[in-house]
Amino acid sequence: MKFSMLPQVLAQMFKKPFTNKFPAKYQPSSTTNFLKAVGDGNASIIPPVETPPGFRGKIQYDKEKCIGCKLCIKVCPCAAIEYKEKEKKIKIYVSRCCFCSQCNDICPVNCLSMSNEFLLADADKYSKDLIVE
């Protein structure tokens, strides 16, 4: 049949689109003005789809529990963790992290965990948001 997709296309015209229109339905003419309007409360951002439990987002570090054993540094494939000699604690560079969560598994005191934050884009690799310590 020549137009095998035609029934599908026609049906789609009446159905809700599958795409979740995050962050806004149409592209705003100026992104900075849009973000300012959101901050003032004049516009709203359509929320992203919920992440499932167990999602591997930005790393979280419980400083009190850490014992300075350096096992996480040994197993990190990206060299994203640095050891602070004097304090015996670690510093994690999220810009180098590949979100594999191998450090979570090997830590003997479970002081590392992955949150569900994924909106991490930043202009500066070493800004405060992208360094966890």
Binding site: C78, E82, R96, Y126
Partner: protein, 178 residues
Amino acid sequence: MTKQLTPKEIVQSFTDTFKTKIKNPRIETHAAGSKPTEFIHIWMNVDKSIFKEAVKHLTTLENYPHLAVASGYEWENTIELVYHFSIYFGERCKEISLNMTVVLPKSKPEIDSICDIIPGALITEQEKQEMLGVTVKGIPKDKRAFVSDDFPKGMYPWRKDETGASGKMVRNLHEGDK
């Protein structure tokens, strides 16, 4: 369809034809799954002078043996190439992997091409030439497969001696400005 031999018979046919030029044959049995299903890997050391005949002998066991890839590494004064063949595919749980190791001296790393027997070996032979500095005699198309044309000649990335990749060719990205 040629008759299928058991692993012991396969090793026997090689040692009978080539006598002492086949060294250290070993048959490894591995198992997987709950049943468990077993499969065989055969490893043998083949002398480079009879390597091409050994591959021809393999075609008597299976009409079109499957060459997966040829890996290689250097070891002290030699370069060792491992050719990974597999035969008897097509029926469930019958395939046997045959790995042939050929030892070449570093002073004269030459080997014959097997592209006339197995045309699919072209790319992997080109790769050995540029990565390890092996010369493949009789290769149909002599050009670089993976390394770019402006990579320095005489530098062989897989080697761990002075001809290995070093200096400007290696960029340690993680040692950036922190």
